[in-house]
């Protein structure tokens, strides 16, 4: 079982999200949640890359658990994303809320696909 690898990966992934979110928010402001968008897009691209890299080569289960279900899954977040979108909508910024949903979901999937093709080609 690779449960410990998930725990260790997540123990690093979550603080990396927190620090990157804080850095992005400090630079671009908190009017819209750019920090969460950044981690979710970066994490999706990296997770796609990992999935692509596994197609042609054997990667150890522990490494996959550490990076994928551990680090990247905890680096990205659905709960903060949804909370920030709902908070925007509640404060009357419906367009901002819609923009964040659109920018997270569409580009997130496209970046995962791009990462996958890149990982497969490497």
């Amino acid at each position: 079982m690779t449960w410990w690898a998930v725990a260790v990966g997540a123990a690093f992934g979550a603080p990396c999200r927190y620090l990157l979110d804080a850095a992005v928010s400090a630079r671009f402001g908190r009017r819209l949640p750019w920090g969460t968008l950044t981690v979710n897009l970066l994490g999706s691209a990296a997770a796609g890359l990992l999935a692509g890299a596994m197609v042609h080569r054997q990667i150890d289960d522990t490494v996959v658990a550490l990076l994928g279900a551990g680090f990247l899954a905890a680096f990205t977040t659905a709960s903060t994303f949804a909370l920030e979108v709902v908070a925007l909508a509640e404060s009357g910024q419906r367009r901002g809320a819609g923009l964040i949903v659109a920018l997270s979901v569409g580009p997130g999937i496209v970046l995962a696909l791009a990462g996958f093709w890149l990982g497969q080609a490497l």
Binding site: V6, A14, Y18, A73, A87, S104
Partner: protein
């Protein structure tokens, strides 16, 4: 006037090593909880991922309720927000697993299912959040205030 998200979302004090440790400890717990959900609801790649849906929707509900509770009862406790919110629930829920689930459905040639999975995922995250906020605010016995 054009302020950002609700004050409930304030992340609190600036980054400190202590804050990063709290988030890391919480993240490990959240990651293990997500693994627990995945082991109860296993799925093959390229099939409908109930585990991701359930973890994300339940985590969205819990974070919303937690944030409403903290705002009402412990407005100065940044530590609880960091450990339980940013750490445990942020680490429990995931966006990259959701996008890779979609990727695997597309690889399997299941485009309609991928579309449905995207819609159900996003809708359940947002609905669970609204529900978590409303129930917590109602339970805390206050309307908009408190």
């Amino acid at each position: 006037m054009t302020n950002g998200p609700a004050p409930e979302h304030d992340l609190g004090p600036p980054r400190t090593p202590r804050a990063a440790v709290l988030v890391g400890l919480g993240g490990a717990v959240g990651g293990l909880a997500r693994l627990g959900v995945a082991s109860v609801l296993p799925h093959a790649p390229g099939t409908w991922a109930w585990s991701t849906l359930v973890a994300n929707a339940s985590g969205c509900f819990a974070l919303a309720a937690l944030v409403a509770l903290l705002a009402a009862r412990f407005p100065t406790s940044h530590d609880l927000r960091l450990l339980l919110g940013t750490g445990v629930l942020g680490g429990y829920t995931t966006f990259s697993t959701f996008t890779v689930d979609v990727l695997e459905l597309l690889r399997a040639g299941r485009e309609p299912m991928a579309g449905a999975y995207i819609g159900v995922s996003v809708a359940s995250m947002l609905l669970a959040t609204v529900l978590g906020l409303r129930l917590a605010r109602a339970a805390l016995g206050g309307g908009e205030q408190r």
